[in-house]
Amino acid sequence: MNQEQGPLLEMDGISKHYGSVTALEEVNLTLRPGEVLGLVGDNGAGKSTLIKILSGAITADEGRVFFEDKEVRIGNPQDARNLGIETIYQTFALVGNLPIYLNIFLGRYRVKKILGGLINILDEKQMEKESWEILENLKIHFNSVREKVDHLSGGQRQAVAIGRALFFNPRIIIMDEPTSGLAVKEVEQIHDIIRNFKTKGVSIIFITHRLQSIFAVADRVVVLRGGRNAMDKRIPETTLEEVVRAMFGLNVKVT
């Protein structure tokens, strides 16, 4: 991790209201290149809302976002992708009815030009080939990339979602609860994947309830409570107890 470089991403004063409910109030977040950031907080603290703003799924009511020191507008998921921000949602956002290779390339299909460049048609062979390669690298077994995502197991689906995010050489990967519902061995696999991303220089923001994961792989932790910043510290400089206290705002004894 490069400490001399300026931040890759800066979210400044982000607020979001849903009617009379305030989801986020003046929230700040910074992310450095190659940094792994853990985003934690109790249910309803605003974590999902914040990353959805970053991924373009929703728009903020107030606040600005800076990417590489330039202000950017992320109005829809495509904008985020164009910046190199890929998101792996908790529900994976895959279309079950469609085959794996189309899901990987959803919305940005490989195309061939015909009729002198006038019309684009799908290059399915290419997509199948590339999908196969991506998934092989993730070391999870697949029978065929033509399989409908519906027919896959949870772990396979996660692999497809991860593969999709990875394929487009993102600068930032957002992961929403990547370890929920996983067995211990699988959790370790996710940790390895995150470490892997990091060696490639990709910055990562991940939301989790599993605080041990933060302490296992993250460089920094940001805590949200009630829609506001509650803590922002580097991992070596804090403890589990301190994080929990920040999450709940109490003096909690962690045994």
Partner: protein, 311 residues
């Protein structure tokens, strides 16, 4: 294929069925339903519905009829008609995509609106007697194939290609299967929705041109049940009402099935009073047989996008 079975049955029941001119008749009559069905397929694939097809057909043909009767050029008349269809469809799509009005409601409202407008425009009269060139569109022959058939095949090919081979088509299937996931994955869902309804309106107008040309008359009351028939053709053809699965080829067979049944009823001399009864029964029986006989095998899997030969 169900179509074959039906054909077989009918040819046994009446000698007239298999006559060439009858068969051509059938395909020709199915052409209009087919074209409307294509538009409806697009809409239903994305999980929506379009009740305004018939009314838009009427409106677009009435307006252009007035223009043509005043001696306007055919080309402009056609453009006017298509333009109206496009506009109505766009309004539908925009309201659905941007303001999030349920498709049923807005196309229902549009149905009323267009139908009323058609009446107003023609003041309840009928326009008939168009120029010979215009009549060629619906009643002529191209290499001895009736023009409606040519047009419907043409439309079928274009849209088959669109759905099966282009990114746009892929987006439609994704959108219909899971709108939110598609949106999160970067598909321009709103844009696609608007397009789909616009195309449906356009095709309705296109069908209107052929219909008016064939009848050599335009009146505001035409197309009353066309939308429902189109929906039936689409559903019979294997497209799911919830979206995400289906094909235009299936819709074509659906349209043919319906037309064959009606034709058969006419040939067998079944009184028109009973026809809707028989049609209803047959539809029910056929769908029931789907249940008993496994998946609908009316469409060869080659034509169904996303079905894999040998996955």
């Amino acid at each position: 294929m169900i179509l074959f079975a039906l054909g077989l049955l009918l040819s046994l029941l009446t000698p007239n069925f298999l006559r060439t001119d009858n068969l051509i008749n059938i395909v020709r009559q199915a052409a209009i339903l087919n074209i409307l069905g294509i538009g409806m397929t697009l809409v239903i694939l994305t999980g929506g519905i379009d009740l305004s097809n018939g009314a838009v057909l009427a409106l677009s043909s009435c307006v252009s009829a007035i223009y043509l009767k005043e001696g306007g050029s055919i080309l402009v008349g056609i453009l006017i008609s298509l333009g109206i269809g496009l506009a109505c469809g766009f309004i539908n799509g925009w309201m659905i995509a941007r303001i999030r009005i349920p498709p049923f409601v807005i196309t229902y409202a549009m149905m009323f609106f267009a139908r009323g407008l058609a009446y107003i425009v023609l003041q309840g009269k009928i326009m008939y007697g168009f120029s010979k060139t215009f009549r060629f569109l619906g009643a002529g022959h191209l290499f001895s194939i009736p023009t409606p058939i040519v047009f419907s095949v043409f439309a079928l090919l274009i849209f088959y290609f669109l759905l099966r081979y282009t990114p746009f088509g892929a987006d439609l299937y994704a959108l219909g299967s899971d709108e939110e996931s598609s949106r999160l994955s970067g598909i321009k869902t709103r844009n696609r929705m608007i397009w789909v309804y616009t195309l449906s309106g356009l095709l309705s107008a296109f069908a209107g041109i052929i219909y008016t040309s064939r009848l050599n008359a335009a009146e505001p009351v035409i197309g009353e049940f066309f939308a429902l028939d189109a929906i039936a053709a689409v559903v019979l053809g294997g497209t799911l009402l919830g979206g995400g699965e289906g094909s235009v080829v299936g819709t074509m067979s659906g349209a043919l099935i319906i037309t064959v049944i009606i034709n058969g009823m006419n040939l067998l001399g079944i009184p028109s009073l009973l026809q809707s009864f028989v049609l209803g029964c047959v539809i029910l029986i056929m769908v029931a047989s789907q249940y008993f006989g496994g998946k609908l095998r009316g469409v060869p899997s080659f034509f169904k996008p996303w079905s894999f030969r040998g996955a």
